[in-house]
Subunit: 362 residues, 4 copies
């Protein structure tokens, strides 16, 4: 367990100021890649104390040291990884829970955690889509927690900060969705685009985005020296993007690709502007939109690339306009495990508990 | 030198049938990656004999064993690599020359080789664009060989086979251009597309496509665990594509990306059809168009990926249609060093000399 | 099925000369990586015709086109992949069988194939160790086919060519074993080494050496940007090496490592010479030993590396001597799927049927 | 420039306690990979303020924003990168200098910085070897600063902490040297080894260890899908290792290899023990030796691998003993840019200024 001494937990810390408070967090799904990244970041968070590690087991064991799963964490957490259950998380010991579990596990457990007055940041998709009826089509299961779905705040930090601060349940966005929504939101909201001409995002992701579950498609030999498109016209992150950007399915095409890298997403987005603009005008509009957002970097020149954001919580966004000033390519880059998952989850936690937004993330 | 005994050269082999003839070839630019691939393939070509290896030098040496540059060729070619000059290629010893040199070297030397009655397959861009006036914009030099430009045949084998057979000078297509043109030609020529809606190719290439010249941008550490777009709205292969497909610049967007792999190009191409079609109709149209083309594989289902074509001369093409039957994604995959360069060059040679089209390539 | 017309099979071709004969081969374990490499090489072998593809199934299907497993083979083999059984291989249709199956499958099936007068090249370890009693320790099963074990010829082509020509059952060597044995055999057999000082091989292999079976350890994210040692003092290829080199376990240390590449093995081998030698003397001794071996390249200078042998059947061997002329490092490089598995298997087939040793391999 | 407000610099902070002090640091060689890692770590160091960035220029420019060289640092440092000179570093503005420059640049400039009462951590080899006469052989230049060589403290933090605290000039160890010395020091110092039997380190490093200078050997295509040994019996880090471990050249063999990864070194070290030991005894001895060393993790079981230490300042060390208890393999893993360069440099700075040893490193 992280060696933080003399720290009072949140539930009893009402009279302390924010900077001295410590939130006690549990990480469910600790053995996955998002779980690892959560733990890596939480280990350096001065106001978070990891109290519980939970998972569905490993190598047939139900309880084991987390370093059996993540050797890089050797020596950092002494608590064992335990089976996930609501009972394992007494409110007297925990303030909030990160769910980095399968969708249906999150769907089942999140409402019960809320009942116990625990706050939840859910990294699965279980509470992302406001329309419960969309779940059977996109995720293959019926959604049976409509009240919590209604309550959940979509945790795209740059767009929903105010609601996130007060939220009990934050639906942490998908990695591709974060990449595309951040790149398009200013243009869409400020009416820059000719939407009818269509919006196309050709996105490329590293293999950690597919999670740690084994499959032939993720075998080293199959991914290495390869690149492939998948989920054509049919990827699960599409409804999230449409919902956040208020776009119609007929106007939006999203194609994900698997890259032979571990971390990172690059989205190359093709749009037409409603009228001709200069590069400077577009940059200015984005800079204005993201003023005060510490983790979006709008590039005044050049094109974002994955290496510039890998292992960071930044999203870089850049632009190229054709000489007509109408055809535009927006390129965004982020790290799928950080801003695309665990980093944004902690950014959400920071907002929820009044910590500085970038704590543990810069 | 390749140990082929008792073979007569082409210039004196008029009375032999094709299968017993041997063409004597020189490879200029032997130390590059396209040069290596040419040599690798020629070493197993039963009707080609490599007589001369030429380069601009290496490590300050003008003459050296080719294995100093390409250790994998150890023991395969005994002739030394020599400085490139027309004089080094007497017509009594050589029938044809592959130019895998910089554009301007090819521009200067190809006409002089033709004068000597040598046939030329030029892997540079020096003779690809029919409009000489396009060279200053796209390549930064004036084109001063208009007659040869007029004469040159664009060596996209599947489109121009008849002209290639008779050609003295073949302009071997660019790697990206091959990837995009093969994917679009049937749809364009058969009027399948709504061109006004725009055609977008988001293409991804391995690092060998950038050649062997050293630069920080190609340093292992810069390419590895990265992906980046470049040449936005401004890549040199665009005019080739427009010319071959008879498209206008305003309707076509091409974005190349650098992948952390050695070989391969994947193009994800976004189009709208003029009217609704089924997947089967599109597949049938492409199969019809490429009937008899041994190196294009039209996929009846599934999506092409780089691994399926790496180290081969194949181009795989597949399709995904949206439920409206109008929005379509075409995906093509090829190996930039084989079908995108040296393989296609040899395919061209095979046509020029009446060899079976797939000799040394299957 | 490969379109080879007008070819007679071996069993009835007694009166034909070797060059016109065609051997009919079955490939069992066709869906693995060694299976793919066998098929890729056999597709270009003018004297082999693949008649049967066998596997234990894929995605729950028992019979399926091989391109479902290996898209790169699209269009090359029309025969479906079928369940492996002796009955599926009638001697009237097949002459020989490549077994690229699990060890115990090979152990069970090989004797029954021999009974039917089929010849077998077994790529598993089932018949490599002459001492049946070694199997429980190293492979975890009892060996119940001692007669066939006795009969089997260890298919290290450069060492056992004469026996291989006559063999009915060839035990194709392990990939690491080939790498180490070829590097050490001349030094050991010619008495060059001070064996008592110990022989250490630090070997590094690409991930295809571990096969296609999925496991977390072979997940892209676990292998990429990593290198790890495994099997310390305890790797299964050790007894093969000891047996072939006639070394005692106490004098030999072998450590395999997993590299983040697909193909290739590099072995860095540390020895002491019995007395001082020059580099030239060592090179001369190795050249003499491997005179006539078309797939071993002894380097007169420089150090072998994986790229020089990838996708080839070559083993490159080089040397560095300390200034004392006594401490020596031998470096060998080969492609684990070619010379380390399928290539050597075909080299063995070529010897067994009197074909040129390098057919389909150069 | 890093936005640290209200911090007093060291030179005037005598009466403050350590935790409130801020040291003003310059980074010379800021455009290289070690420079980038220094800046990345310093950006999160609460007690260091980067005041000057220095380099030999970039793209012909002498002064430029550091993000032109390292886009990932976008927005983190406002000071421009300037030409390196002693005059550019007035003692009124700087307390210490990290030299991540070529050896001879460091040799020339370090003495002049010391004259100005600046403290120096030199990441080059200019002050590592106590014997000035060794420089011509290993580094190809005469050493003309014997007094500073005498004064310099070898900055292997775990071995020399006391001297480092007081040092004005710290010679930061080489990356391979750190990997090997940490793995062997306990065994050597406690007399565990039979040195006469020889010590062999087979080490493997990622490509960032070779620096950012361009060369064909570091071109992506040459490194990718490859592994090669180099510097056999002749690597520059050998004399450092011999000096630190008090070994004779005749007893020690070191072979570096280039891995197709960006970061990390794995050393597989072969030794014989003077007498038989158990695994537990060895682990206990190492644990005792490294008690209190926060960045060495001695593994009680398992084998270190690169991923467990990448992007961290840890060195992991593990052991495997043969059944005789005499032959032993020690495996160590570290990140060549962190513990092998910039991380250790900052660890040294932390000691020099009385900061907590792990500041900015955990």
């Amino acid at each position: 367990m992280k060696a933080i001494t003399a720290a009072e937990s949140f539930s009893t810390a009402g009279k302390h100021e924010a900077s001295s408070r410590v939130v006690r967090v549990a990480v469910a799904g600790a053995t996955g890649y998002a779980g690892l990244e959560l733990l890596r970041l939480l280990a350096r968070h001065p106001q978070a104390r990891v109290t519980h590690l939970l998972s569905s087991g490993r190598d047939g064991k139900k309880e084991f040291p987390i370093e059996d799963s993540h050797p890089s964490l050797r020596g950092k957490f002494s608590a064992p990884c335990q089976p996930l259950s609501v009972e394992a998380l007494p409110p007297s010991e925990v303030d909030m829970v990160f769910l980095a579990t399968p969708h249906q596990t999150a769907l089942e457990i999140a409402p019960r955690l809320l009942e116990r007055n625990l706050r939840v940041v859910d990294l699965s998709a279980a509470f992302r889509l406001k329309d419960a009826a969309a779940y059977p089509r996109w995720y293959g299961f019926e959604h049976d927690a409509p009240a919590e779905l209604e309550e959940a705040v979509y945790g795209l930090t740059e767009l929903n900060a105010e609601d996130i601060r007060k939220a009990r349940l934050v639906a942490n966005p998908g990695c591709y969705a974060t990449s595309v929504i951040l790149a398009l939101a200013p243009a869409v909201e400020r009416g820059l685009l000719d939407i009818n001409a269509g919006v196309i995002s050709d996105s490329k992701s590293g293999a950690s985005g597919a999670g740690r579950g084994v499959s032939e498609k993720l075998h080293f030999v199959e991914v290495n020296e390869n690149c492939r498109a998948y989920g054509l016209f049919n990827h699960r992150h599409v409804p999230e993007m449409l919902q956040a950007l208020n776009l119609a399915e007929k106007d939006f095409t999203f194609t994900p690709h698997l890259l032979p890298i571990t971390r990172g997403i690059l989205s190359t987005i093709y749009v037409r502007l409603a009228k001709s603009h200069t590069h400077e005008e577009v940059v200015a509009l984005y800079n204005d939109f993201y003023a005060g957002a510490p983790f979006v970097r709008v590039l005044g020149s050049g094109v974002p690339e994955i290496q510039s954001v890998a292992q960071t919580n930044f999203t870089d966004i850049g632009f190229s306009l054709n000489s007509d000033g109408v055809r535009m390519i927006i390129v965004s880059a982020l790290d799928n495990l950080t801003k695309g998952a665990a980093g944004q989850a902690i950014q959400n936690m920071n907002l929820m508990y009044g910590f500085a937004e970038g704590t543990a993330l810069t």
